[in-house]
């Protein structure tokens, strides 16, 4: 949008330099107070969203005791515990995003186009709405009750197969365990977003494809997938960001067993565990950076996807 329109009342049109008739000039509008209506909102955003972000940005380049430095940014890549925290966060996010996207897509396909009765769809979408909101501390405890040492599934396996999976070296307090927990809120989100996209595949497109002699394979390869691809990828990216910023679930589930970026930042807030406030800021900045890329990718893919959903 053009910024000029915001300040239009202030910058009055140029006084007649080209000799136009006076009537041709737009009348000078009185100063408009319209913007006051949205001022509180923007003030709030500046104070509590932009200033904190900018402060993180500036302090990322602050030396211990003051002064400018790039060392904090360099340290993110050099210090092995910080690098491994990023690696672990990226890994969990990538795995649960891909897994959630795959499983969620199959589920959404099953209830939208898979020939299941109507109630299955309503039912699944309702529960996806609930499950995608079921995260944080209660979710962690739910999985402790499911797959933990005395969990229901653990005991069922023990009763049926006579093996204690935890004695066999299985544990949920590791990378795969956390991924299983994250999947609980990841794939329902995929279902929620994919279902409307799949509904958007028009019957005419399939019929057109069939009239031209195309098979189901042709329809999916040349019509449906290209149309759905932006939505698919976009949602996978969204799931990635969803997992990357997660803190409560991981904290309650693993305590400090798993070295995730969010966990390290949380510890840094509670006490300067990195012994360098600037480094903490740099880690936070790294998260904002990765999340920004994620969301830009999502926004771009969304725009592409919306081409077909008019």
């Amino acid at each position: 949008m053009d910024r000029d329109s915001l300040v239009a009342p202030l910058s009055a049109p140029n006084e007649s330099t080209n000799g136009d008739a006076p009537e041709a000039r737009p009348p000078r509008r009185p100063f408009s107070w319209t913007w006051l209506g949205v001022a509180p909102f923007f003030l709030f955003a500046i104070l509590f969203l932009f200033l904190p972000s900018i402060s993180i940005f500036i302090r990322s380049f602050e030396k211990l005791g003051g002064g400018f430095t790039f060392q904090n940014i360099i340290d993110i890549f050099n210090k092995s515990d910080i690098r491994s925290a990023y690696a672990m966060s990226l890994k969990v996010s990538a795995v649960t995003a891909l897994g959630g996207a795959f499983f969620g897509f199959l589920l959404a396909y099953a209830v939208c186009l898979g020939g299941l009765p109507r109630w299955a769809r309503t039912f699944l979408l309702s529960f996806s709405g609930v499950a995608s909101n079921f995260a944080g501390v209660p979710l962690a405890f739910a999985f402790v009750a499911t797959l933990g040492n005395a969990g229901l599934v653990t005991r069922i396996i023990e009763a049926v197969l006579h093996t204690d999976i935890h004695a066999q070296g299985f544990s949920i307090y590791n990378f795969w365990g956390l991924s299983i927990v994250y999947m609980y809120f990841q794939f329902p989100l995929m279902v929620l977003i994919m279902a409307p996209a799949l509904d958007g595949l028009r019957r005419e497109w399939r019929e057109a494809c069939e009239n031209l002699g195309g098979t189901g394979y042709h329809f999916w390869r040349y019509v449906a997938l290209p149309i759905l691809l932006p939505t698919l990828l976009g949602t996978a990216i969204l799931l990635f960001g969803n997992a990357f910023g997660a803190y409560a679930t991981a904290y309650a589930f693993t305590g400090s067993f798993l070295n995730l970026v969010t966990i390290v930042i949380g510890a840094q807030i509670q006490g300067d565990v990195l012994y360098n406030p600037g480094l903490g800021n740099a880690m936070a900045l790294g998260m904002i950076f990765i999340m920004s890329i994620t969301m830009l990718g999502y926004a771009w893919l969304q725009r592409r996807a919306s081409r077909w959903t008019r």
């Binding site: 949205v38 909102f41 944080g136 803190y247 409560a248 998260m287």
Partner: protein, 260 residues
């Protein structure tokens, strides 16, 4: 004759298993406090703890304040943008999506570093907590209200009211708000669900709330945390059910909440 959709059913059942097994396990686990039989002992213990009530009460308080501030910020803005400043829409939308870019733990990090020292100290009051919650609620509140505003022709309604001589108070109170009732309630329910289960902000700012309370008893007791988790889940579930009930007939699915 149509084939029986084997794989569709298979995926559906797998999905529903994933949904229900942890829920069922949590409920089953919460009933197992006394050896050898199912009792509500864990719930009795949970209800005996006075801190259960105080933390729940605090979360209720935070939720009510957050809903009020979020409404006050979002409704006039969304209305005004729709009516007078449509050019600002992309900026407002961008801001409401910021919480997706700045994760809760990073936002709280920034807030503590910025408002933990003069000139403006907020971290010693619940203000920082409420601010965080309002930010979390922005995407859901705005989308909900904006969808509500688009669904009715707000400009015509406003102009009709004006031409009948209504003042702004009357327009807002008797024309706009009644039309937005469902949208506002959805946004409020979602905000309520988010705040009631929130952990990150309250824990890192050290304010009493339900989320940190559950986490804390998790490290002290067995079985009761699961009982409280079931109750927390019920709160979320009721909020979402409320939204779906309000939005019945509409095409909208329930949006997902933040605060992981």
């Amino acid at each position: 004759m149509k084939r029986f959709p084997v794989f569709s059913w298979l995926w559906l059942f797998l999905g529903l298993f994933y949904f229900f097994i942890p829920l069922f396990s949590t409920i089953e686990f919460s009933l197992r406090m006394l050896k050898g039989r199912y009792t509500l002992e864990a719930y009795r213990v949970a209800f005996q703890d006075p801190r259960f009530y105080t933390s729940f009460g605090y979360s209720l308080l935070w939720a009510v304040i957050t809903m009020a501030i979020s409404l006050l910020l979002v409704v006039p803005t969304a209305y005004w943008v729709q009516l007078r400043l449509p050019k600002l829409r992309p900026y407002v939308e961008f801001i409401t999506l910021m919480p997706f870019v700045v994760p809760a733990v990073v936002l709280i990090f920034g807030l503590i570093r910025l408002y933990g020292r003069p000139p403006l100290v907020l971290t010693t009051t619940p203000a920082a907590l409420i601010v965080g919650y309002v930010v979390l609620s922005l995407p859901y509140m705005y989308r909900s209200v904006d969808a509500g505003l688009r669904a009715v022709d707000i400009r015509t309604l406003t102009e009709a009211a004006q031409s009948l001589g209504a003042n702004w108070l009357t327009i807002i109170k008797d024309v706009i708000l009644p039309n937005l009732r469902v949208a506002l309630l959805s946004g409020m329910f979602l905000t309520f669900a988010i705040v009631m289960g929130e952990f990150t902000f309250a824990s890192l700012l050290s304010w009493p709330a339900f989320g940190p309370y559950i986490e804390e008893i998790g490290s002290m007791r067995a079985y009761t945390p699961q009982a409280v988790s079931v109750m927390s889940f019920a709160v979320t579930w009721l909020s979402i059910a409320g939204i779906q009930w309000l939005g019945r007939g509409g095409a909208s699915g329930v949006q997902t909440a933040g605060a992981r």
